[in-house]
Symmetry: C2
């Protein structure tokens, strides 16, 4: 793509450049994607274009849980079947969707928008933590569940939040650490293995 003078179609270059902005998509992949959608035809190009415009114009942050939403309040917070007294605290919407896919959790969420990470300049003020505290002060909440990654950043963030709400008389839990399905005990790390022994459950 170096010889721009001879590129037979200027708009091709522009689309390839836009697609190359995605992580993991280099100019060659972007070119193959461009040729593919050209072969599929004008209709597919316009459908993808419309999907992008519609998402760009409709995307909002849910006023309650700070998840992505297409309305002021997201579908989960608006769902009368969800238990509003249990809030699961997640780093981002990817984690929220992973939990949703399990079909096990029936409470609601609070999306922090990241984890505290002083090395990268992410402080509590950059996250939706004060929104969470306000929510806990104003809503009737019985339990919050930390579903944060088992990293120093995840632990720091959980402890920071915990210190702020320990006087609120709310049950605070965290998702279980244990041996993953398919993991051989021989290869489990010591931290996970020790947690899985401490948090052992009745055999069923």
């Amino acid at each position: 793509m170096s010889n721009k003078k001879h590129f037979p179609l200027k708009q091709l270059e522009i689309l390839i450049a836009e697609l190359s902005k995605f992580p993991g998509i280099g100019p060659k992949t972007a070119f193959r994607m461009t040729m593919n959608i050209i072969r599929r035809g004008k209709n597919d190009m316009l459908q993808l274009s419309n999907a992008l415009i519609n998402l760009a114009e409709s995307i909002k942050i849910c006023k309650v849980c700070k998840s992505l939403s297409d309305d002021d309040i997201c579908l989960i917070c608006n769902d009368p079947e969800r238990d509003k007294e249990t809030i699961c605290i997640v780093e981002d919407i990817e984690d929220l969707l992973s939990i949703e896919r399990t079909n096990v959790y029936k409470g609601v969420y609070h999306v922090l928008g990241g984890l505290i990470n002083p090395m990268e300049g992410i402080t509590p003020a950059n996250l939706y933590i004060s929104d969470l505290i306000n929510r806990l002060l104003n809503e009737k909440v019985k339990e919050i569940i930390f579903a944060l990654s088992p990293t120093p950043e995840g632990d720091t963030t959980a402890h920071y939040i915990y210190r702020q709400l320990k006087n609120l008389n709310i049950k605070v839990t965290t998702i279980a650490r244990g041996i993953s399905m398919g993991t051989e005990i021989e290869y489990a790390d010591e931290y996970t293995l020790s947690k899985s022994i401490q948090n052992r459950v009745l055999f069923e």
Copy 2:
């Protein structure tokens, strides 16, 4: 993504579905791409959207060489520095662009739009072959160069075209088959090796 009821943003699903239409991009990759462009912001979503609309609305087939173009005549056919008396015959625009990137070829092209393949129902009538013959009858052309893949389909297509133009007093050549850079002779296939001996050139 199975639990559509709880997907917090309907427009997300639509974009993920559109991105999943690209070969090699599954729902997980499409989801990661969607989250990435949301993080990059509305401006990037609209830029990609515009690139698609502009391409869809501007894309044409060059009336001369059948390459993609944003005008009736493509940039190569319109370039006064290109030698219009030499036509390189290629299967598709990918092959054309590969040759362009070498910066060696200064003639023009004719894009067939595929290769003759009776098994897949591709006959000469499905390709831009009659357009090529008309072009050779009406333009002053000294040489055509077959730059088709060394496959049965490539050979069939080249021979079909050759039979139709052998009375036109045009020099017909084909790109050299030989040992590729970095290939050890021990591992070269017999056909390529025999061609590379027959078509040997003076040592410089």
